[in-house]
Symmetry: C2
Subunit: 715 residues, 2 copies
């Protein structure tokens, strides 16, 4: 073990001779003599003795609560559609966590292969980390408090991907919109209901035989014209790209990849063959920088047609089967034919096909060419989706350097956060998954992924109206707000339900657009400040009870959310860590305000009511222009709701939303300060970068709920 | 449709010419001219327009909340180990529910085949019932309130099965205790920890090649001696019996069944062949009364060896595959060999074996001989498990008429409740399933099943210490308290955990034994009075909030329970519908009392603390004799805790626990009345049937929490 001081708060411990994962950017430091902090290296791996009160935050996209203690996880990107409570791996491999207790510290395990995190599962008082190989880097991160540790970690892994502002609009998706007509129908139904919308997603159906960078011209006769037609209506089409590329003579992606040896090879040096949606495919070697550049520039096929956003899928990589092992399965099954079959034989037999899926044996049988070195896939498995999305991101940058593309991925690792967002994969239409969605968010943010959200309404199984409403009332707050469902499931678009349900959903979507000035401001600030968009209460409040709260989140600097996630509920319990102002809305025209006192209580909530809590001395900024597209939002007039004890502060951020000019200082910022000056309010608003005058309509609430309205204009 | 007045509250509507299911006992009534009440018969089935506030209780063993509204269910006994939130069918078919709202009424669908209950899933405001055939009886049950409707229903379906009192002790089970040594080890570990225990369950491992009514003599050299050895230590061994009987020349059960045509036949009149644990089996025709009697008397093989209890399993009936369809699957798979396989072909292919499981095609291909009529299985599918357990019950009655045997089943229908209890099948070690366990209980009770409980700690997947503790703190209250787990899962016996965990679990088990006088009293009264052992709060409290409570239950007449079911929780929210006395125990030596005021609050609960709420003007009766077997409980001294406003009443019931003599009036009953008579308490205790003097140590709490201790002796 060698120790390197990265900075005042972070030490990197290098074990063996690790491969550079590029998860961490600031990974250089002076070598020092320093023993391993906090952890002990035992035969079973790294261990830490947990105290009774210790809480463990992090590990990104995984099942379980906000506090991950008591569980065991395997960091290994896995395509598993069944997110049941015992699952150890989902699509992401997010090896950063913080232990919060007598000792508070962060750990990041920088490694591309499998890592097991036993957070008190086998022994309730012992945290154990088992890395599957001997070559890796381990970072120990200190800080003044949990949030500070997260910020310190985020600092060394680099700035998160910045989505275009329109990507904070509403997106509609479904596996099974199969042609122009289906897509047109989605938009016309949205329009008929006067529901806002910015994106329609294209799932694998748009491709010709599921081939990347193709369009089925029978189902989309003039794709470029179609994209343009929608763009003119303010709607962007967002196609999917899969990791595997179809093996098909004459298909350019196939031919070029073969010619240049850009695909992953098997042990014999032949391109590895797996089956996924297109049938037999090769996997581009995203860890080979030449292959990565080649694949990334392929996105031009679609950007040339006017496409401005993508979602990368199946990039764990998911494998339905490999040719070789399918043959073995056939032979195995064949050996039982006409024989007497014992019942255990039968179980073996009946799992013959199932066990072909995402088999570790397959992952052990193909290789990456990393700067000339052949590295077996399983050793760098977790870097695959990362580098697919990096490939896309780098390609898109080359295609249009200053343009912000929408880009998010299913598989991911720390490092990919610099190139794209993630969605949380193939969840189900279960109320339990609304809660899981909420509980996943802070851990994902901790690992640098800010542009994130879940398939609203659930991907698998059938949703009912209430579930879609309650879920939408959570997605209302997530940067990615996309309603998405699997082929064969019940329709769950917001226009699919009863008149009452459609009305409620329309109101939630309208509320989203009214909130976008605030949400975008918080989204950008959390990226620019290495901050978290969603935080557990205990990241800001030091009281003991805040540590217990598993179903409420702080959103940015000003808000707390507490969505309902139980069927037939008419409200929910809520913990108020300090006096807050509750905004309860069932439409933009009907907003009620109520001061909530610190403590526990039960909040009544009709199915059509959405609660938003404004923290003490904080503000909420909304725009009530009834925009149906993000670009239509009138940002020159903002309604500010402030809950003021002595002095409330809010920093409003905005920029053009479509370029990277903000990096050159081209953005708007207003520091609003409202001071309670003995029965009067002193309002100050310092701005930089304003291109136009802004009108602020302020409604200022004091602790007893009485309100004052003020108008100011800033230039 | 013909209408029959069963009594003042119940009308039976007969459609077509239904088969007698024997679910209802009091099913005769005068034919009347009466239109269908509440429901409307439309093309899509029976419908009822749901009002916004309507709640739906019932449908027994199913996923979902206490309020089943918004969901869709298929009543069709199904062996499905994955109790995920979208599941429509589990092991039971319990077709009774109550709509509670502007109109409050009960519905029982008396039919042996599939029935679909759409409780507002497809249309949130419409309840729909679709029966798969045209011949069935429909009962509409009225009453003064929800509980009264349940009692009226329970009255016509007959008295519930009465378990022996020792069956309320703790049972330990595991699929995989494979021989005498394993079983001895269980007991010695319990003894070492001084944990109480009454039963050890034998899963399929004890049989010779999974053959019913056999014992593997290699693994159990002297089974009769072994049973006796354990009985002498106060432990009863409870073997499993499966529905399918192995096809094996010379095996008596096989030979006799074949000889007498007691097995279900296929369309050709040959015994139907399915594969389950023993490999290929025949299913006894439990709907044929001669076969039923024959199979029931087979239990004598084990009762002769000293066995006094059984659990009937795999009696949906579960089918892994049928020979015929396995052959088809092989041929189907074979047809793809060496061919080009499309991806959708592959999905078909890979599900070839999976879809053999519990296939409706199989259920449509065998027949029952009901009084000489051949009836296709799928039409009476839900009666199969019922009649297997009836077979056992009737056999055991013939074997020893006055003895109470322990008997419970996995599959069930209304009617079976007269013959045995149920456990809730193959759940998982998920915290979500602790909540599901709680939520299932009242619906199951409504359908007549009082002896019930879940696999404590979860059957599938791996449990951690905290989960087993929290789950045990719920099972503490269920009549059936059995820790059970699947082969290959992590050990979860209470002695398997840390010292601290073992201590907590020991305390919970000890508390169970202290509570047994009370639990048995409530258990018996709920049977004798057609009452519910577990009730939702809204069955007793009329306030609006009680209707919302989905995670608390009333236990019998006096108690409310509110267990913790969330990981890492240090307490929970609780709703107190009237002032109650909270008893918080972390051991029998350390019980704290606290008066809880009506309203919502948050209750702190350490992992080692169990909460019990005593309702106002009610009492809790416990015995603190540190018994390690139910039979050791000293019932001559009882500690009574009463929470008295003006007048508290409790009826204590007890009997010999092992015979049916209680039916002849041989039981003990004490009516305890404590009246708050201006700063003094007037205590009255009227008893009948006492054989010995009873000492009652009363601790009487008034509303402000101050207490008075009194001792009385009753003879």
């Amino acid at each position: 073990m060698r120790s390197f001081k990265i900075n005042e708060n972070i030490i990197k411990y290098t074990f063996g001779d690790p491969l550079e994962t590029e998860s961490v950017i600031k990974n250089k430091g002076e070598e020092i003599k320093e023993d391993l902090k906090y952890l002990t290296l035992e035969e079973e791996g790294f261990t830490f003795g947990l105290k009774k009160e210790d809480i463990i935050y992090g590990l990104g996209e995984n099942v379980g609560g906000i506090n991950k203690r008591g569980r065991i996880f395997e960091s290994f990107c896995t395509d598993d559609f069944s997110h049941t409570p015992e699952k150890k791996s989902l699509y992401g491999a997010h090896n950063f966590f913080v232990v919060h207790g007598e000792k508070t510290f962060g750990v990041f395990l920088d490694f591309g292969g499998k890592v097991i995190f036993d957070l008190g599962f086998n022994d309730k008082d012992k945290l154990k980390i088992k890395v599957s190989e001997n070559d890796f880097n381990l970072y120990i991160i200190d800080g003044d408090n949990i949030l500070d540790i997260v910020k310190n970690f985020r600092d060394i892994i680099g700035m998160s991907y910045v989505a275009p502002k329109w990507a904070l609009g509403v997106g509609q998706s479904r596996w099974g919109y199969k042609n122009e007509e289906d897509i047109r129908n989605v938009l016309s139904r949205y329009e008929k209901e006067e529901m806002p919308l910015d994106m329609i997603y294209l799932d694998i159906d748009y491709m010709k035989d599921f081939k990347n960078f193709t369009v089925d011209t029978e189902r989309f006769k003039d794709f470029e014209g179609f994209v343009k037609e929608f763009k003119e209506k303010g709607i962007r089409l967002i196609p999917i790209i899969d990791a595997g590329c179809k093996i098909e003579k004459g298909y350019d992606v196939y031919e070029e990849g073969i010619k240049n040896n850009f695909y992953c090879n098997d042990e014999n040096g032949d391109p590895f063959v797996a089956a996924v949606w297109p049938g037999l495919v090769h996997f581009p070697d995203f860890l080979n920088k030449d292959a990565r550049r080649w694949f990334g520039l392929k996105y031009k096929f679609l950007t040339d047609k006017g496409i401005e956003g993508f979602w990368n899928d199946m990039n764990e990589p998911a494998i339905f089967y490999s040719e070789k092992r399918l043959k073995e399965a056939f032979n195995y099954i064949d050996s039982f034919k006409d024989k007497n079959i014992g019942i255990y034989d039968y179980f073996d037999l009946s799992s013959s096909f199932d066990k072909l899926k995402n088999s570790i044996e397959d992952y052990k049988s193909f290789y990456h060419n990393i700067d000339g070195n052949l590295i077996r896939h399983d050793r760098v498995h977790n870097l695959f989706g990362f580098n697919m999305t990096r490939s896309a991101s780098e390609g898109l940058k080359e295609i249009d350097e200053n343009k912000r593309f929408l880009l998010f991925s299913r598989a991911s690792t720390v490092g990919m956060h610099r190139y794209g967002g993630i969605w949380t994969g193939d969840n189900a239409s279960w109320f339990e998954h609304i809660k899981l969605n909420l509980q996943m968010m802070p851990g994902i943010n901790m690992c640098g992924f800010i542009f994130t959200g879940a398939d609203t309404g659930g991907f698998g199984s059938n949703a009912n109206e209430e579930l879609v409403i309650r879920w939408s009332a959570l997605s209302l707050f997530t940067p990615l707000f996309r309603n998405h469902a699997a082929l064969g499931t019940r329709n769950q678009e917001p226009y699919s339900f009863s008149k009452e349900g459609r009305e409620t959903l329309k109101n939630i979507l309208d509320l989203r657009y009214a909130l976008i000035p605030h949400l975008y401001s918080e989204y950008m600030k959390s990226i620019l400040n290495n901050d978290m968009y969603f935080k557990p209460l205990a990241f800001e409040y030091n009281d003991d009870f805040s540590k217990r709260v598993e179903d409420q989140l702080l959103l940015g600097d000003s808000l707390m959310i507490a969505p309902v996630y139980e069927e037939n509920a008419k409200g929910r319990y809520v913990y108020i860590p300090e006096d807050m102002l509750l905004l309860k809305a069932n439409s933009l025209e009907n907003i009620e305000f109520e001061v909530c006192k610190k403590g526990v209580s039960y909040m009544d909530l009709e199915l059509n009511e959405v609660p938003i809590f404004i923290r003490k001395n904080k503000m909420l900024v909304i725009n009530n222009s009834n925009a149906k597209r993000v670009e239509e939002i009138d940002e020159d007039t903002l309604d500010v709701f402030a809950f003021v004890d002595n002095k409330a502060i809010y920093t409003y951020y905005n920029d053009d939303g479509i370029t990277n000019d903000f990096k050159e200082g081209k953005f708007e910022k207003i520091d609003i300060v409202i001071e309670n000056d003995k029965e009067n309010y002193k309002i100050e608003a310092k701005s930089i970068g304003l291109k136009k005058e802004k009108k602020l309509n302020l409604t200022i609430f004091n602790l007893d709920g009485s309100r004052v309205e003020k108008k100011i204009t800033i230039s």
